[in-house]
Symmetry: C2
DNA sequence: ACCGAAATCACCCGAAAGTGTGAAGGAAAA
DNA sequence: TTTTCCTTCACACTTTCGGGTGATTTCGGT
């Protein structure tokens, strides 16, 4: 139990103590104390000093610290994993179809496979990918993948 | 000052109080108390109850609750970003040079650019990348990127 | 000293990717 | 209604990629 007793508080306590003893002396001198039963007198003293003790302790004892550690999950980039950055997409003006193609490119599909999956011709996929590269300002599909992943345009 | 007085503690205090009063009675009954001066007796009572009060207060003062929020970074896959999975690399038997080439492929470089960066010929880079595709069991560089990133072989 | 893996390079060929241009239909906006 | 954008497709052409084969050098381990 760490007691952080400061000089000022001790002084206050000392003065209180002295005053109480003075009162005691006065009571003894005037024989008033013996008008009451000894138990009552002792009980009063006990209560007074106990209250004083409680007051002292509450005043001076450093509050107990209970540290409750709460873990807060923090995602890097303010983005939950797998979340896409809509603002970046709008910034580059990528259309819905172009995003589909971009995602499939990043998945490692060839243009022909993409064409098959989207039910369009190979030439269409080529056009889309060319437009993607233009809008993203890249030269190759691998660069497009890198940039798109870095900017959270695709997961 | 919030006092959190619990039933058990109050009981303990009550018993202590009763014992003390019993002691007092006994002392009074045996007239031992009057062998000493009244001030000493009262002082003893005062000190005892003050200590009791202090003890009570210290015991019962509600501990101050401090909530400490610890930010915990959350990563997918138990791997820190940029951390690589050495076991996967060994599983595929990728050499050091092949890893370099793989990283540059994933960075979006062309074979020629990789050759320039590694001070080797274009044919060497082609050989490396072919071996990479064989070891990773993929057909294209984009597939290699996808697989390598998924398995944390590269960042 | 020898072996095997790694790294280097060359050449050829076919496949895939990317460029440029043009065009047509449809939907939404001005 | 006109314009703009999206989507679709074609064709020709260039570049890059990837497979196959073979060769040389270097380096660590037995």
């Amino acid at each position: 139990m760490p007691l952080n007793i400061q000089r000022k508080e001790v002084l206050t306590y000392g003065i209180s103590m002295a005053l109480l003893l003075l009162l005691l002396k006065w009571l003894e001198a005037h024989f008033i104390v013996f008008n009451y039963r000894l138990e009552f007198f002792v009980g009063a003293i006990a209560i007074i000093f106990m209250v004083l003790g409680i007051w002292l302790a509450v005043k001076l004892v450093k509050p107990k610290l209970v540290i409750r550690v709460v873990e807060k999950e923090v995602y890097i980039n303010n983005l939950k994993p797998g979340e896409i950055n809509q603002k970046e997409i709008e910034k580059f003006g990528l259309s819905k179809r172009e995003l589909e193609v971009l995602a499939l490119i990043a998945a490692g599909l060839s243009n022909e496979e993409i064409a098959g999956k989207l039910f369009v011709s190979l030439n269409t996929v080529k056009t889309h990918s060319s437009n993607i590269f233009l809008k993203l300002d890249v030269k190759r599909r691998t660069q497009a993948i890198e940039k798109a992943k870095r900017l959270n345009i695709i997961h």
